[in-house]
Amino acid sequence: MSPPFPKPRPKNPQLRTPQLTLPPASRGRVALGLTAEAAEGRFALQVCEECGAVQYPPREACRVCLSHRLRWKAQAGGGVLLTSTTLNHSNDPYFRDRLPWRLGMVQLDVGPSVMAHLHGDVALPTQPGENVRVRVTTRLDRSGKAVMVALPEQETPHMSDDPLLREMGSDPRYRKVLVTDGKSAVGQALIKALIAAGAERIWAGQTEPWKAAPGLDELAKLPQVTLVPLDVGQERSVIELAGQIGGKVDILINNAEMHRTFGITGRRGVEVARAEMEVNYFGLLRLAQAFGPVLRARAADGPAHATAWVNLLSIFALANWPAQGTFSASKAAAYSLAQALRADMRGSGIHVLNVFPGPLDDEWNQPMPPPKLAPSALANAIVKALRDGVEDIYPGDIAQDWLTRWRDNPKVLERELSAGAM
């Protein structure tokens, strides 16, 4: 079993804050396919559509029949550990900072053998010839590229506390989290899910304090929760809060959103659309400018260092749903900016998680028929995605359905949506 991750001691202020080093990051275009699958939590390898051979490393043509028809397909990852070693020395600054480090060669059941980082609970053979079975998966490392990780075949106690998995995820345990809107149903569900996940402190943003938020007072009594004034729609509020707590935030979850349900002709004028952009798009930009630099500077600050940034987007960011046309457009703008933020953060080891839920079960979607995503389901999906270190999630049946149709043919989806379908 892995030793449970201990609560980190307070930082020694006389020592220089460690600076982040990153593992090698460059990958060819074909190999980025592995990263694209890992970004959504899938371990996939190229499979030849002609002869069925499974490929690794990623390549342009089948290693058996030279066909170019290779497709990424999800794999179970079962295999046998052929050999392993523990690095006690490395010339690479990233591994030097994290020694000792275990590596192994695994023969996958589907054919290829792969080099993988070894989880601490992967046992060594106790006698020559014994087969140690492992489960290989991919994780995004701190430079954002997919790497192979070999896990024990069966779950072990405190498995996620292994330093390797903590390094390749953003577990909220013992971390300090800012939830930018603590008043909404999603915000309150996030607070509960983060407490259940062992977060040390949660700052819950509160805008327009004169508007009551049922349930918030109860949550605010919990020892981990602190209400803070925050309106992402105004520069000074964001800068002021960043000045107060920016140096403490390890995970920022931007769930503040303005959700209205108007199409282009459903609402005269641009005031509602402007308010949506002000929060959904400019709010993200203000937060990124105020909190981004200090988050980046703390990316190696102790065992519970700054680690992740979460954007609550919408599946409507991918394709406009005309019935909520201006909201969709504001989320598309936010999605585009979130891509820029991820690029900005990648070099500094801060992980950006984009969340694309389907319609939420909230007051503005009240007339919509189910299925609608419950705030608690969304919050749990976000916490799981943080632990797993994935980049993009699409929680909910509608989001999954849209994603499939969008990937299949965005133009067909656009036509379906413009004809009034959902």
Binding site: E208, P209, W210, K211, A212, P229, D231, G233, Q234, E235, R236, S237, G269, E271, V272, A275
Partner: protein, 270 residues
């Protein structure tokens, strides 16, 4: 023969300002992003709150100067309501802030103190009896004067920065003081006032939507070409009668109102 300085009214005024015999009292709340704005049901159009973003701050965006862009609604912060604000006043002449006569921008004020009643009841509606009692003590309200309802409501914000108490919402809506329908009708028809001023977020009471007509102060005042001032503060520094109010809204073309600086000239008796 020119008027000698000793008999010129304005020269006397200037002199009195210099000596401090006439004091200027600021009745304005500071425009800040945190100042609560009027809040309608969320599906209705909303007045924008005050927002301010830096253009430059002696930095690479402008090394030698500091300035901001701000945005707000016509009815944000301490503000002026013109008759065109209400549907009852939409067809009146000179009903928008750019066309109201400048002569109206300086006028006498009568300050009716309702603070004891409001301390006991946030929904307090000023009555005709309150006005008659005021007149019994201080004389008849002159035509063309502002009537300001002192409630000390502004202290929720100016002293305690308590936005929730200033707004005072519960599930039945907002609970803030204002005038009764009869009092408004009396001021408009019997006293021909210039307008009505309040410390709360509207000239009407928080529950004014349930009066007849709904929002009587807006409906009747603006319907007869009178004005409104809201989110005033510092009314406790004014005498019941004798102050002059300087209230000049921004000259917004066809504007329904505007944030403004409201100043009172108060004479200190020697």
């Amino acid at each position: 023969m020119t008027t000698s300085t000793s008999t010129s009214l304005l020269a006397s005024l200037a002199g009195a300002l210099l000596t401090g015999r006439i004091r200027i009292v600021d009745l304005t709340q500071t425009l800040s992003p945190e100042f609560p704005q009027i809040s309608l049901p969320p599906e209705m159009g909303q007045c924008a709150p005050f927002r301010i973003e830096e253009i430059s701050h002696y930095d690479e965006r402008g090394p030698g100067w500091y300035w901001n862009n701000f945005t707000c609604g016509e009815h944000t912060g301490t503000h002026f309501d013109a008759p065109i604000h209400w549907i009852s006043g939409r067809d009146l002449p000179n009903n928008s802030v750019d066309t109201i006569p400048p002569q109206h921008m300086l006028a006498a004020a009568c300050v009716i103190d309702c603070s004891p009643q409001v301390a006991a009841n946030p929904d307090y509606l000023m009555t005709v009896a309150d006005i008659e009692q005021f007149e019994a003590q201080h004389g008849r309200i002159p035509a063309g004067a502002w009537v300001l309802m002192r409630t000390d409501w502004s202290r929720h914000w100016s002293e305690k920065s308590d936005a929730a108490a200033f707004q005072n919402f519960d599930e039945s809506g907002q609970h803030t003081p204002g005038p009764s329908t009869e009092a408004v009708r009396f001021l408009v028809e019997q006293r021909h006032v210039l307008g009505f001023g309040s410390e709360a977020i509207g000239t009407d009471a928080g529950q004014g939507y349930h009066l007849l007509p709904p929002y009587p102060c807006h409906s009747l005042m603006h319907g007869s070409g009178r004005y409104g001032l809201q989110c005033l503060t510092g009314l406790d520094a004014l005498p019941p009668v004798g102050a002059l109010i300087f209230a000049a809204p921004l000259k917004i073309e066809n504007g329904s109102g505007s944030p403004l600086r409201v100043l009172a000239l108060v004479e200190q008796m020697p």
